[in-house]
Subunit: 397 residues, 2 copies
């Protein structure tokens, strides 16, 4: 039994805001600003270059990786941090293709987050040997795992619908066909109980600015199954993945650990803030978190369906099939979301018509969910979304 | 005529420290901590996801890129920021190889920073079509530009010796042989007057934590010559390089600008601190800066040669051939540098025997240079570097 949830006291939540967008950018943990100031003033300002040793900067990617490993069910030393999720997808895909040299297919699904598909397309273009990206519908993926598939790359929880793939079953099917498995945990890490080691998948990647509350542009992570690490030939073979970065050798010689998936100089400021953000997980039992998340999602569905007949559920009704978000389709979803945000309930919109609501049990409770549903009902009943100021699309929705 | 140098009042420099390592990690500009706090508390904490629009986060990479463009002699809109320098090297190399499909040689030199060479090796391994990396001595590079060279990739200022390539002449030789030119400006941006557009090079890359004072792990940048941008097929085709990132299309369609060299979600906190750091350049005339840098380097050479016969100059004596650093070779250089640092003079060491001193005219003046030489003389005369505590190598030197 872990600490009781929510833990609102650990976060800075603006007055009058019900924040149902922690699946896009998590809220600010209280210690973050103080930690950033310390890194900037005491470490950078005071210790200068010496801080790479004296303040532990050089080890920070590994230390933060170990904390994330804990949250995704991975062993110590199996997670490298840094870069962006797109870069980590590229690393995993490249490594996977090299593990299956006779095969020419990357299999994903058309519900995957576009950047993952784009990175696959970019890698295919660079290798230029007739590789093919296949993107069937999510429910057709398992049947599409044929013997020519080198790698199956899927996002565990669909960014639009919250629909969840069965990690163990899909991985098993991939392996049965001889394919390598990559899971994107962007919408899973910090939202679900995960057992990435138990899944037997070769790779997992994820970002830390959603449920892990690392802040805008927080570093990404990559897990590699320990038994395959020493066989990985990194495409992005930067000096900090070298076995002896400061020997300044002319030839790349990868570190004999997951460190070989590091690339360049780590983003220390963002890593330090992320490390601070990860302290909110101390004592949290992820099965409690998952139970709370399912309750909140179920409650929101019940409240919204009772109040807002215009909206159509776009997420699995069964909480066991759903990540920590609930989506509703609505023709005027963009404007309705803007109207809702103007009333202090922040969710987001994903093209073409999805209103998306994330439930983060660390700082959201039942009363938030009910209040959000009430305001949503009012926005729809009064058709306040018709207001002209809610029609103009901003660049980021 | 620009503002007068140095501008020590704009920086936090610890008492008793003479910092000759701004070529590795620049000192802290005064506004950085306040800016970080504002981004964290007001923007992230207060505006949450809305800050991508309301606080200008989405445009920050472009805005910061334009400020850097100014400092390297590049036109507005030609510089993208984000990721690490190693990633930007990979992007430039990949794009260059695609521009010369019939050629199979990447030409660099054996004085290049190892990570640049490692990234070339990684790319060659991933493409796996018999590409070759050639690394002659720096002075032999021009003669090595043969008709089979697809791309010449060089670091403008050698990280160990400070020796500078002739940017215009080498670029001209590369182009005469039909090769693409990539310049790594890691030790040039903020240290020299640069005219990257006038050099006609196709690409330039660089980091921002050295002379640009962006802090540990600050984002990198990439310049692409405007006339070639629309032909670039990015390997690292992330969603923020897409023409319409939030349309969530399944196929990558690159932005019709340098933005196509963006990859994933930008590191907002580091970018904001970098933007703040770049304000110290307001009003600085880069020809004044270069003149001051040459004077400081010449003075250091004269002082050290007069005082320290044990040391051998490992940099060009002619300031016109040298970047903003001076290096001396010394058999016991590692220990001597540790002893020097313990006395408050911070330079750094690069294997096998190089003691490296950077001169940053924004916050270093003649009195610093003379004082540093005096202390170095004392360290050598007293052989204080023999102290056992200066023998143990730390991971980062």
């Amino acid at each position: 039994m872990g600490v009781s949830l929510p833990r609102k006291d650990l976060f800075e939540i603006p007055d009058g805001i019900i924040y149902l967008d922690g699946n896009s950018l998590g809220v600010l943990p209280k210690g973050a600003a103080i930690r950033a100031t310390r890194v900037i003033e005491e470490e950078w300002g005071g210790q200068l270059i010496r801080a790479w040793n004296s303040a532990g900067w050089m080890d920070l990617p590994r230390v933060v990786g170990n904390r994330i490993a804990d949250l995704i069910g991975a062993p110590e030393g199996s997670v490298a941090t840094g870069d962006t999720l797109s870069i980590k997808v590229y690393q995993a895909l490249d490594a996977a293709l090299k593990m299956r040299p006779g095969r020419r297919v990357i299999l994903s699904d058309d519900g995957n987050f576009p950047s993952d598909l784009y990175m696959a397309q970019g890698l295919i273009g660079t290798i230029d040997k007739g590789y093919e990206l296949r993107t069937p519908a999510p429910e057709a993926v398992v049947d599409a795992i044929s013997e020519d598939v080198a790698v199956v790359m899927l996002t565990h929880v669909d960014y639009r619908s919250g629909r969840m793939h069965d990690m163990k079953a899909v991985t098993k099917a991939a392996h049965a066909a001889g394919a390598v498995m990559i899971w994107d945990l962007a919408h899973s890490a910090g939202a679900l109980e995960l057992d990435i080691a138990g899944s037997d998948a070769e790779f997992a990647v994820g970002c830390s600015y959603k449920y892990l509350n690392g802040g805008p542009g927080a570093p990404a992570f990559i897990y590699a199954r320990p038994d395959i690490v020493e066989g990985i030939e990194p495409a992005l073979s930067g000096w900090l993945g070298h076995d002896a970065p400061f020997a300044m050798e002319l030839d790349y010689r990868p570190a004999m650990s997951t460190e070989r998936l590091r690339v360049g100089t780590p983003p220390i400021l963002q890593l330090a803030v992320l490390q601070e953000a990860l302290t909110v997980w101390d004592g949290v039992d992820l099965s409690d978190l998952r139970a709370a998340s399912m309750r909140l999602g179920d409650l929101f569905i019940a409240e919204v369906e009772a109040r807002c007949p215009e909206l159509e559920l776009a997420s699995p009704r069964d909480a066991m099939q759903r990540g920590s978000q609930v989506s509703f389709a609505f023709e005027h979803g963009y404007s309705a979301m803007q109207a809702l945000i103007s009333r202090g309930v922040i969710g987001d919109f994903r093209a073409p018509d999805v209103m998306r609501f994330g439930f983060t049990p660390l700082y959201i409770d039942e009363s938030d969910v009910i209040a959000a549903a009430e305001i949503l009902q009012d926005v729809l009943e009064t058709e306040s979304w018709r207001d002209p100021r809610f029609q103009t699309r901003s660049r980021v929705t």
